[in-house]
Structures are given as C-alpha cells and as structure tokens.
C-alpha cells in the first residue's frame, strides 16, 4: 500500500477539524467527559496514516455519526443517531470468561489505564456495499487479550453486546436474537490491525457508533465490528454469531471483504464510498491484503465466506 501523506488529510488538518468539532455545542458536552480516555493518547501522525491509500479521504464526523447500522437503536440508518440519547455508556465493565486462567470483570477505566490509545484511520466496508474512512482512537485487541490470560486451548474469541432494552429501543423488538454476538479466530483477534476503539475524531465514542468500546476489524464486513461490548469469552470451538445464525446463506463466520464472493443481495464487486457519486471497485480484504491474507492461505474463501 502506497502512502502519500500529502494526498490524504494531514494530521494537522484532522486536529483542526477536531478542534472545530469540539467547539460545537453538542460535542462540547461530550468533551467534558473525555479526559480519562485520552490520558494515554499517543498522537503520532505516522501511526495515523499508516493504513490508508492515497485516494482515501476522511469521511466527515456528520457522515460517520448519522448513518449507522446499529439495530439495537432501530433498523434505519438514522435511528442510531436519533434513538441513542438515553444510552448510558458509563460506568462500564467487561466480563472476561471461558477458557482463561481466571474469569474476571474489568472496569473500563482499569483497561484504559493499562493501554495506550492510538489513532487508527481505517476503511470500513459494510456488507451493504457502502464504505467510509473513519479516524478511530483505540488500542490493539491483543493488549486486552494478554490481560485476560487465555489458556492455550482457546482458539476463538466471542464478543457480546450489552442488552438494555430500556435504553436501546431497538432491542424491544425481536428483529435479531439479542444480545448481538460476534466472534473471531484467535489469530484474527491477535492481528495488529484488530482494535478495540474508544473514540472517533478525537471524541469519546458516540453512542450510535458503539459507546463506550467497540471492535474494529477493518478487513471484514462492518457487522463483524461489534459495538458496546460487555463480555468477551474464550472458546475452543467456533462461536455462533448473530447474522450467521439469522441467515447463514448470506453471512458467514469469516465475512472477509471479498469482491469475488457474491452475496445474494448485494454485488460485492463494487461499493459506494459515502460522499462519492460513482461506485469504486471493492478491494480484496478491503485493501488490507498485505496485512491479513496470510491468515487464510489454507482456507477456501468461497466456502468459508
């Protein structure tokens, strides 16, 4: 992947935009509680643009926060933005169980004090054939896994979203089986690209994007990047995941972005980058082929889609 830092939004512009966003009223409220998350914030611009192509431009804060798939708040793209106002992302803790040395519950604050928050700008490709470029802040999932001390028998990691129908109106309806569940193979989870994100555009993670902590796996379709995580389980068998359970002929466990594997609803050959008029070609592994292709060298990707 080529990086021409002159061609993408430079870090300075991004910081300026961050300041601009912070100056708006709504975000001023958010900013008041954000200090803890950025206690260890590492603002190294080379990390920031390491994973971008030269023709990638950041999507706006508005685009990223008003067009979401987060069925816990409703099934329309604007529902998460409109219906997530009552969600309380603090205090928060994550239960660690399954094949670990000692099952335990970590306070989010404790996790954050043990990690360094980095900027990671990733392409996000939705299975519905649209995509965005999002400046996340977060840390590698591998850091949390090390804290969790899984046993050597653990081959898979399962994630569970919080279940709070009183705060998440979409959960009052059985659109999918709640709580939302996702999973990764251990080597996918340990890959340096895989992060737990706690913020975007320098903000605490907005409710509609999966506050306070969510997974981001940039080479897989967006539905793998589970939001508002309350539980992480280590398993020796492949876990059930929500979309695969609902429609296994459409959504597989792996869900790697792959322009050559057709989906019955959407052609995966092209995508619309939000903000652009013409579709663009979808890249193998969403353009992260170099970083992750080796994970699947023995796997038939048309069978394990």
């Amino acid at each position: 992947m080529k990086i021409l830092s002159s061609e993408i939004t430079p870090y300075k512009t991004y910081l300026n935009r961050r300041k601009f966003i912070k100056s708006s009223l709504a975000s001023a409220l958010l900013a008041t509680v954000s200090s803890s998350v950025f206690a260890n914030h590492d603002s190294n611009s080379s990390v920031y643009n390491k994973y971008l192509n030269e023709n990638d431009k950041l999507n706006s804060y508005e685009e990223i926060t008003t067009y979401n798939n987060f069925y816990e708040f409703g099934t329309h793209k604007k529902h998460p933005h409109l219906n997530s106002g009552n969600f309380k992302p603090r205090p928060w803790s994550i239960k660690i169980d399954g094949l670990v040395k000692k099952p335990q519950t970590f306070d989010l604050e404790k996790i954050l004090s043990n990690v360094t928050i980095e900027d990671r700008v990733y392409r996000l490709r939705c299975v519905e054939a649209w995509s965005m470029v999002i400046p996340w802040q977060g840390f590698q999932l591998s850091e949390l896994i090390k804290m969790a001390e899984p046993l050597s028998s653990a081959k898979y990691v399962q994630f569970v979203t919080v279940f709070r129908p009183e705060e998440m109106p979409g959960q009052q309806k059985r659109t999918i089986i709640w709580p939302y569940r996702e999973g990764l193979r251990m080597d996918e989870a340990m890959n340096p690209l895989t992060i737990l994100a706690t913020g975007l555009y320098g903000h605490e993670m907005p409710n509609q994007n999966g506050a306070p902590i969510r997974l981001v796996v940039p080479w897989k379709y967006g539905f793998k990047s589970i939001k508002s995580i309350v539980e992480i389980r280590f398993l020796d068998t492949q876990p059930e995941t929500s979309w695969e359970t609902l429609a296994p002929w459409e959504y597989g466990f792996y869900a790697n972005v792959n322009p050559n594997v057709n989906h019955p609803r959407w052609s995966q050959g092209t995508e619309r980058r939000i903000g652009e008029f013409k579709r663009r070609e979808t890249l193998m592994f969403n353009g992260y082929e170099k970083e992750v292709a080796h994970l699947y060298k023995d796997l038939d990707l048309t069978k394990f889609y």
């Binding site: 604007k78 659109t175 999918i176 609803r265 939000i274 579709r279």
Partner: protein, 201 residues
C-alpha cells in the same frame, strides 16, 4: 353519495399531491439535502412510493364496491399511471445514478439477485398496463381483453411487495403489512367472484 363529478373535480389536486414528492426529492437530491447516502435514499423513497400507489389502485377497486363510493373508480387510472411514473424513476435511479449505465453489471445483478429479479419482472408487467391505459385502447382491444391484460396488476403487486420483503435485512414488519393488505384485497376479489359471479367484473 359522491358523484363521478366530485371525484373528477378532485383530480387536479390529487395530481399535484402525488407528483409533489418526486419534485421534492429531485430538488433535495440536487441541492444535497437527501442525507448521507442520497442515491440510496432517492431509490428507496421512489420505490416505496410506487409500491404504495400500486396498493392504492387495488384498494380503489375494492372501495368502488361500496355504493356511495362507486365512482371512485374514475381515479384509478391516474393513480395507476403515477405508480408507473414512480417505478420508472426508481428504475432509472438504479440504472443511471447507482450503476452509471454499466449494463453488463446491471444484467448480472438482475439475474443473480432474486430481489432485483422480482422488481424487474414487476416493472416489465407494468409496461403493458400503462401503455393500454387510454379510452382509445380499451375500445381497440375490447373491454374483455383489456380487462384480462389488467389482471397483471395482481402479479405486479405481489412481485413488488416481494421485491421489498427480500430487500429488508431484519425487521420485515413494513413489507409484511403491505403483503397482508395485498392478500386481503385479492381474497376479497376471489370471495366476490365465488359468491356473486354475475356481478364480478
């Protein structure tokens, strides 16, 4: 009792009311006020409007069985043609804006994806309906044949609602409501035909 004249008089108002959304969406599209993914939004709105209008034409036939509303049937053609208008806009949005006239891709899309297949067949069946919706055509074809051609609307409605049903990923409430209405309207027609065959059209 509403007379044919009453209904005919309402036509210009109805015309503007049904035309208006398309003008509004076109304006919002051009000025960039159709949200974050405007092409998708435009396509969804146009398609939903078309489906609703198709269902309304079926409802009109049923309503015209109620004595005081007998003359409502004079509105059916206009609404049916508007349904075709919205389907055409919906389809051209898909062809031109969504896929930029990439015909190879579009043909594959129509064949491979069941929901697009349903929508496309539904569109094809609407063409003979729309093109025979003049008094002259009724005369030329004879009422009986014309009537037969227009039975296609049942297929159109079922396919269009399936097009919507398959498209929706998880919460199927809305498409199920439309399907339910269509099935009820069809059952009513079958019931009418069985019980009073001489009155059935």
């Amino acid at each position: 009792m509403f007379s044919t004249r009453n209904f005919n008089r309402s036509k210009p108002v109805l015309f503007i009311l049904i035309l208006f959304p398309s003008l509004l969406w076109a304006y919002q599209f051009v000025t960039g006020n159709l949200g974050v993914n405007p092409i998708e939004k435009l396509m969804d709105e146009l398609g939903l409007m078309a489906l609703r209008l198709i269902i309304i034409t079926l409802m009109i036939t049923t309503l015209s069985n109620i004595k005081p509303l007998k003359s409502i049937v004079v509105l059916r053609r206009m609404i049916g043609l508007f349904a075709f208008y919205y389907v055409c806009l919906h389809f051209s949005t898909y062809i031109v804006l969504d896929h930029f006239l990439d015909m190879k891709f579009i043909i594959q899309d129509i064949i491979k994806r069941p929901f697009i297949t349903f929508g496309f067949i539904s569109f094809l069946f609407l063409i003979p309906l729309a093109s025979t919706s003049t008094n002259n055509m009724i005369k030329r074809l004879g009422f009986k044949l014309w009537k037969k051609i227009h039975y296609l609307i049942y297929l159109v409605a079922i396919l269009a609602s399936m097009h919507f049903y398959v498209l929706v990923r998880a919460d199927k409430t809305e498409p199920v409501i439309y399907m339910g209405i269509i099935i009820l309207l069809l059952l009513h027609r079958i019931f009418k035909k069985l019980t009073r065959p001489q009155l059935a059209q």
